[in-house]
């Protein structure tokens, strides 16, 4: 194990962290297991590829997460608000339907051909890390990915509205009774969650290959991470995303055959030991 592998683990982990924390947020605040999360991520990556063809990466870097945040608004006011009285599973199944619709829309808007996006101008070189060359773009990916999550954590830990978010995640009814405006927080959280999925898509575009299966693959891993971390626990999701990212990257060098199964085995072991997951999640779940 050397520094390059640690960096690779961080790069994979930062994408997973962005996606899993978004999923954990929207579940904590709105009681929604969002199956459309992977489709939003794929949509973002394809949109980035299209924008890079016509303008440049930095335009995409700003426009794509904002577009995805707008998709969050549509989700909130089109589905979550009007159908707030439906069961968690019902809404989860509707988002599963929406995932198929959004994937289909992505394919007809941007085509189904796999794309490759090259790293943007100042970040396309390599840097020497303890004697080994390392792509600068991955360092950028790690910085932005983990930086955004660090900002999220800081917001949750040190601000009043962040405290409210944590309170609603842990005990929705009690928080509401104590006077937290869950409606206003709900909108912010849904947009933040889909915006994070968009950011993950933009960041992934020059790092991974863009294809039609990318959303499903990462969605399932992200869901595993959210359950591992404990439903309703955002901190738990972040920690388990880093664990899984690390496991996958480091394992793919040492024991590739075992690694693909590792996150699932880990999930089953953790649930045997702690059915509520690793983090301090919601009391009633």
């Amino acid at each position: 194990m050397n520094s390059i592998q640690v960096l690779n683990a961080l790069a994979a982990g930062s994408l997973l962290t962005l996606l899993a924390s978004g999923l954990a947020l929207i579940y904590g605040l709105r009681n929604v297991m969002n199956f459309a999360h992977g489709a939003i991520y794929m949509f973002a990556a394809f949109m980035t590829a299209r924008l890079v063809e016509h303008t440049n990466y930095w335009v995409a870097f700003v426009v794509v997460p904002l577009t995805c945040a707008v998709l969050g608004l549509v989700l909130e006011f089109g589905l979550l608000r009007p159908f707030a009285d439906r069961s968690v599973i019902t809404i989860a199944l509707v988002t599963f339907g929406l995932a198929l619709v959004l994937s289909s829309a992505t394919h007809s808007l941007f085509g189904t051909q796999p794309r490759v996006v090259s790293a943007p101008a100042p970040l396309d070189g390599t840097l020497d890390i303890l004697g080994d060359p390392y792509p600068v773009y991955r360092l950028f990916l790690i910085t932005v990915g983990l930086g955004s999550v660090a900002l999220l954590v800081a917001w949750l830990k040190f601000t009043r509205s962040g405290l409210h978010v944590r309170a609603v995640s842990a005990q929705p009814d009690t928080a509401r009774m104590a006077g937290v405006n869950t409606k206003r927080l709900g909108v912010i959280i849904v947009c933040l969650s889909t915006g994070f999925a968009g950011l993950a898509g933009v960041l992934a575009a020059p790092y991974l290959s863009i294809d039609t299966g990318m959303g499903d693959a990462i969605l399932i891993i992200s869901l595993v991470i959210v359950v591992l971390g404990g439903i309703g626990s955002i901190g738990g999701a972040i920690v388990s995303a880093l664990i899984v990212g690390g496991l996958q990257t480091l394992g793919s060098v040492t024991a590739p055959a075992v690694t693909t199964i590792a996150p699932y085995v880990l999930l089953i072991i953790v649930l045997l030991w702690r059915p509520q997951g690793l983090g301090r999640g919601r009391v009633d779940h």
Binding site: L93, P263, I268
Partner: protein
Amino acid sequence: MSAKQITSGPTKPSVVGSRRESTLRQRPAHVLRLLAILAVIVAGFAVPSLVTNPYRLTLLVDGLTLGLLALSLGFLVTQLGLFSFGAGAFFGVTAYGFAFASIEWEWSTTASALFGVGASLAVAAMVGAVFVRVKALPFAMVTLAFSVMMMQFVHQSAFRDKLGGDSGLLAMPQGGFLGVSQEDLLTPDGIWPLVWSVVVVCVAAMFLLGRSRFGRTLRGIRENDERMRYCGFNTYWPKLAAFTISAGLAAVAGLMQILFHGFATPGLFSFGFTGNGIVAALVGGIGSVYGAIIGGVLFTQAQSWLGTSGNLMLYQGAITALVVLFLPRGLAGLISEVSKKALGRIKRGGSDASN
């Protein structure tokens, strides 16, 4: 007679009398329903002589197979409120188990079939022992994770020569199965009686199971696990039993598929495949045993109609979202509402005439 009892009813509110009256009044409805069910069962066996186009009949066989998978999903949802997003895994394990036993060990069709279903049940009992401990949403996630894990497992390069990797396994049946000859298993009209009988037996079994004491215990657990435990019920073993039964249905569906088509592919473990089953169950109607079969048949028909347009996913997604939101009991719910209204009209018509 009924008119006399109606007029005397309010003055003599005797429980026994009113119950007898209600069974008397419901009897025609019961008889009608029973006759209708028998007619459907008999008519089912005549389908191959009506649908002579082999492609259409193949679609129907596939529809029944998917219907069995939907029945497996619907059973868990109805009885325990649990959505298994990995039901396809047990379908797949049976298909792979059958193929493996008949290729590797050259077992007969019957022995391979028993091995395939047995393997699926054993795996279900093992993983279920862990899975049923968690709540509904994590349950959906862990079953999904299990299914993906199985897909990764059959993809492993170490097992490529045994499990076929990406291309899966191709297994021709070695001999007949339950009175259906080896050649008949591979033609849609040859296998139809077997598949239809299996569907009838499974639907009837699920219906009776739902009405049994076991079914009532399960629904009690669905409503409030904690309260059931306070009332002195063990809630763990019934849940595990229900999970294994549901897996058994998926296994039977997988067996029908491998007997007919003869191949097992990693795609059976994908979320997309279980997703088809979920959509079929939802469209047909959660909470009704025959709805799942209707859903399965409609789904495969729609797949062949809409598949040509290239927008299958769009329609599938839109239909799922709309049905879940606006038709929560699916087509079966719609059918029972319409038939209730029709029966009500007959009954009202009858009592009007006697007055």
